[in-house]
């Protein structure tokens, strides 16, 4: 079959809402797009463990500590499914980690912001997981089968994360004046980074086009961002907290909230490595990876020895 015929057949298959599976033929660019997106998603889950882990030893109650541990454990688990999904495309986890350390693979920029008070743990669940789940719900219908199945599992857990985040915010917003101050401070710092999580406007997003045609992405950045805003603004009002956007207003005609413009300079600065915690997050990941090398080597040496012993036994 000629390449064009293959491409046409591929597109028809996708248009019929069929899933692409690892052994199916796919265009190289589709493969690259999936690897980039899934590995970025996996790295985001893993790097995201750091800002939340920053509060785990200071969690104020045993219940809060258990919930936060369970949540971070889920995120590690999501990282694992996603690395596995990406591996079906022919890249190893080692290679993905190498690309992360070399700065060739990205992770969600939102994790380059610091967690400065306990309400940040609430705000991450409510806003960051809330934004993530908005995106991920649409990704359940992504055209790449293993990614879609990973998303189905992940979405169930993410909605629990969002609820626990909102529960913390509710307690803080209704607590002592200091707790209330922490809650507002957290919202002030996380609101804009959460909106940035959806990426640039669609007319400025070079990769959206292919991603949509191939149904890897199922909705545009702006549409998803708007969905998140419309859902979240009333939740902030319910808490009695103020969204840090003087231009925020309800548009009766469109039935949507309108917001001020995102600070795209900041967005690009953080993406290109110059956010508050980029270096810290990457150095932490590299250091832990290097410090763990002897353990991984020991496990591999042990497995090799076991295999050799079993082989000897089998021969004898």
């Amino acid at each position: 079959m000629e390449l064009q015929e293959k491409l046409d057949a591929f597109q028809q298959y996708i248009d019929a809402e069929e899933k692409i599976e690892p052994k199916d033929w796919m265009p190289d660019e589709y493969r690259r797009h999936c690897i980039r997106q899934i590995s970025q998603h996996a790295h985001s889950e893993v790097i995201g463990m750091q800002p939340e882990g920053n509060w785990i030893t200071r969690a104020p109650t045993l219940r809060a500590k258990k919930i936060l541990l369970a949540k971070i454990q889920d995120e590690g688990g999501h990282g694992l499914y996603l690395y596995s999904a990406a591996e079906t495309l022919g890249i190893s986890r080692d290679e993905m980690i190498r690309q992360l350390h070399e700065g060739k693979a990205k992770y969600s920029s939102v994790f380059n912001y610091p967690t400065l008070n306990w309400a940040d743990i609430g705000a991450i669940g409510w806003l960051v997981d809330g934004a993530a789940v908005t995106n991920q719900l649409s990704l359940r219908r992504t055209s790449y089968g293993p990614y879609s199945r990973a998303m189905l599992r992940i979405c169930n857990e993410e909605s629990f994360h969002q609820r626990q985040g909102y529960e913390i915010m509710t307690k803080m917003a209704n607590g002592t004046p200091e707790q209330r101050r922490m809650a507002q401070d957290a919202l002030d710092r996380w609101w804009w980074p959460a909106l940035m999580m959806f990426g640039p406007h669609d007319n400025n997003s070079p990769r959206t086009y292919n991603g949509i045609v191939w149904k890897i992405k199922r909705a545009g950045n702006d549409e998803l961002r708007q969905r998140f805003i419309d859902k979240t603004v009333p939740q902030a009002e319910f808490l009695g907290l103020k969204i840090p956007d003087p231009q925020l207003q309800w548009n009766e005609a469109t039935g949507h909230y309108e917001t001020g413009e995102i600070n795209w300079d900041e967005f690009h600065r953080v993406i290109s490595g110059d956010g508050p915690c980029n270096r810290q997050r990457m150095e932490h990941h590299k250091r832990v990876h290097e410090e763990g090398a002897w353990v991984r080597e020991a496990a591999e040496a042990f497995a090799r020895r076991r295999k050799a012993e079993n082989l000897t036994e089998a021969i004898a």
Partner: protein
């Protein structure tokens, strides 16, 4: 000694050991040598914290002064913590994390197994639940001891070091205090000294598989009975108690 008071003390001992170990494991979050292990250690942190919660809640009821599990976990001074000194030792490297865990898992498997027979129904119920977790932890930690012991020269050196350093904290596991003696006489708890022979056998079996020499020698270790800790606990508590201490009366 009043039985409730003795059982309160006993639950504090068990609860605090789980509380502090859960905390040490929680510190490992995002710091394990690979992602699967990170998830496993976080899971163990969760189990131990859950055990601590149940035990301290029961302790609070037994004490009868209206203290909750959080009051007990977060608002006591250092000398009132009754955890084993073993579990407050820091996460020096992965070998220390594993050896500390393995020593305690071996112990908890035996203890919880016995406690299932307790004449105190609440304690027996908890032990039944905890035993399942302890067995799971033990499988994980003991298999790592074997892997590190039979891995590379470096892993062998590191696990020997951890074993030698932490060994001095083991006698404390088998030392009875007055509350334990009183409760053992009533068939509510086992005497921890009785767990020592089987503990030694189980430890030796894993050492043997791992090619490790089991350290010998007995060391007097204070800890639980006197309320004297190592230098490490103060730092751990300063961090753990921070919000409760800085904002008294706030609800979280």
């Amino acid at each position: 000694m009043d039985t409730n008071q003795a059982l309160f003390q006993y639950c504090l001992r068990l609860g605090d050991t789980n509380l502090i170990l859960g905390h040490r494991l929680a510190e490992m979050c995002s710091r394990a040598p690979f992602l699967e292990e990170d998830v496993a250690l976080t899971n163990f942190a969760l189990d131990h914290t859950g055990q601590a919660e149940a035990l301290l809640q029961y302790a609070g009821q037994l004490e009868g002064k209206g203290r909750t599990e959080d009051d007990l976990a977060y608002l006591r001074p250092e000398w009132e913590y009754r955890n084993m000194l073993l579990v407050e030792q820091p996460n020096t490297d992965f070998a220390y994390v594993i050896v500390r865990q393995w020593m305690l898992d071996t112990y908890q498997c035996l203890l919880y197994d016995q406690l299932r027979q307790s004449k105190d129904a609440v304690l027996a119920g908890m032990a039944t639940r905890f035993l399942k977790e302890a067995i799971y932890h033990y499988r994980h930690s003991s298999s790592w001891v074997e892997r590190l012991g039979q891995g590379t020269d470096e892993s062998q050196r590191r696990i020997r070091q951890a074993l030698d350093d932490l060994w001095k904290f083991t006698p404390e596991m088998f030392a009875a205090d007055t509350s334990e003696i009183a409760l053992a006489a009533l068939g509510i708890v086992p005497e921890s000294a009785d767990l020592l022979p089987q503990w030694t056998v189980n430890m030796a079996r894993v050492c043997d598989k791992a090619g490790l020499q089991m350290p010998s020698g007995d060391h007097a270790s204070a800890g639980i009975k006197s309320g004297r800790h190592t230098e490490h606990l103060g730092h751990l508590l300063a961090e753990m108690q921070y919000l409760q201490r800085a904002y008294p009366g706030a609800k979280w």
